[in-house]
Amino acid sequence: MRNSLLIAFRELKERWDNRSFRAMLFLGPLLILSLIYLVLESGNQGVTSMKVLIADPTNLFENKIASRPSESVTYFFYDDYIEFESFKNSPKFKEFDALIELNEKVLINKKVFLFHRQEPNLQLKMKLKFEVERRMEEVMIEQFTTLGVDDFRKIKQPLNIDFRNVDDPYNQADQGIAWVGYSLGYLMIFFIAIFGTNITKSINREKTNRISEVILASVKARELMLGKIFGNLIASFLQLFIWLLLVGIGLWLLQAVIIPELFTPEHLTGVQVSDQQLKELGMQTISQENNNLDLIYHRINYLWVIPNFILFFLGTYWIFASFFTIMGAMSGDESDGQQFLIPIWILLTLTIFAGYNTLSYPESDLTQFFSFFPWTSGMVSMIKITVGVTVTEYLGILFAWLIQVLVGTIFMLLAARIFKHGILSYSHRFSVKLFFDWLKK
């Protein structure tokens, strides 16, 4: 074990002494943060003006809403119920971009649905919410109380406006959080590809410069192999840890120091309101109106996702590392090594496909297969864990991890047999016969 650690730390030092490794420690998080910034900004995309039809069968609003006409929103009233399908398909309503339903229970349950054909941008969303809420206040004060506006706002419950797309009225297509899982799975595969390739390269380099014989006179082939695998694992964890730390700090800095305006109510609503007014309007969680902002800062349970990410990173690295080791040991020189990586890249690509398949068809048989197939289960599990799982489902995921570790260990034992013979063989031509010869010995 001591020897494996010595070799691991030598590998780590070799990575650390590499300038590109050190540069990527800082450039990587910078790129990720830039990407996050773009995602946050893209959360504010959408149409900027709308013709909104308010279906008000009880004439609650009395055909009144905003006190001043606006360029971005034009309201029309309809004094009857409108079936959702009718609004969606009838030529009669085609000219309207959105429908607000004010049913008879709205004063009690404080919930209003807004069905839009195209997603309004954030400012427009907040303007709609703001104006409907204000009119609702006026109606409630008129009908139920003698309080003034200021006093009423202190005691009232905020209105909940639910924005739905007419093509997805039940909001089934909200895959944002699943995409986070997919991105984490992708990050996992990305690191495994980079550091796994380093294992193969490192073995090839030692064969090319003939140092392996010197090392094997001091340590067992198995110790050398494990040292290489652990060394690259530590290097990848070091990089990953620094990336997570820097991205975490970066996210905090984005919110607190660098672009706090992105998170302010004014930026989000386009309306000059005080914090007190926003609070009274129930908009204290205003960043939730930006889906991506909400996703990154509120909906991801990092304390749950990160430990699971580490768990599956280890399992997936373990199973792929055995392959990278076999490829390094089998190859006669460095150019051979490049060719032998192609099958592993195909397997890594399959993992990416498995993730995409899980996003598109989460309940399909193929997804079920990928959930337990050891090379793809890490990716599928990350998506499931990020979206949320029941205890039973999580037990299934842990079972998939166990399969991954077991199969990885079997392959690692096979890799050790190949490595033992391959590491001392130079400049040979790969053959299937050689592979089985080494495996049998």
Binding site: N3, L6, I7, R10, K13, E14, D17, E206, N209, R210, I211, S212, E213, V214, I215, L216, A217, S218, V219, K220, L424, Y426, D437
Partner: protein, 305 residues
Amino acid sequence: MIEVKGVSKFYSQKKALDEVSLNIEAGRIFGLIGPNGAGKTTLIRILNQIIEPSAGQVLIGGILLNPLHVKAFGYLPEERGLYREMKVLDHLIFLASIRGLYHQDAQKAAKHWLEKFEIMPWSKKRIDSLSKGMAQKIQFIGSILHDPQVVILDEPLSGFDPLNIQLILNEIKAMKEGGKTIIFSTHNMNSVDEICDEVGLINHGKLVAHDKVSALKTQHKTGAFKVRYKGNQIAFANALWTGFELVSTEEIGDQWFQSVIRSRQGQTFNDVFSSLSPALELHLIEEQLPGMQDVFLKLVTDSTP
């Protein structure tokens, strides 16, 4: 003492070593010689525990060779390499550490050897910036840094210039004087002549000869004597009579000759002296023993099927 007992090694259908048995006394320089592909590297790898024998065993001081012996062995392989991107001192410390030395001891030993070989100023340089000769010195230091009791050197002199060859040979002799056992594999028979106490010759996986260098030379002597004398060549030829064959004669001065003769019936030095001294003024009689090059050629030729 190293005892190799009936060691065989098979690679698929090929027998690389065939029941090799030999003893190597402690504090000796043992020359392991043989033609290319004879099985020397296989035996060396077995001694270094890089590979395991298919049959037989190796005992070190009566104890079966095991991983605890790793620290007692130093190894400079023929196909040697270095981590080219590492710094000299770091590289040496790493090699000593995997042989069991603690970091501080490894550092101390590395500095000692770097100073001894006058390459201390390069200790912080990357290995790929060193000259070939300097890199080879680093490889040699790497094999002895942990002060092993047994040092296995496979072609340690290849690639060195004459000055460095002498430096390495002197170090090998010094290690022997320090009580270490050296297994020295080479194709350079002059160096075997110069430093080895014993040799083992392997051909086609079999141990063909195993003896002291002097004994092997004696076993293969041809009965030739070098004779330097003053006098008449006819008198010299008459004195030889039928017991000796004249191989060559060279005139080295006025009536002064040097000849090589070969005995026909196993005559000794005394026989030569008693035959020639009555007729000539003798200046030198020296028995001509074969060099290890000749012994090697003879043994390999005789043992090749």
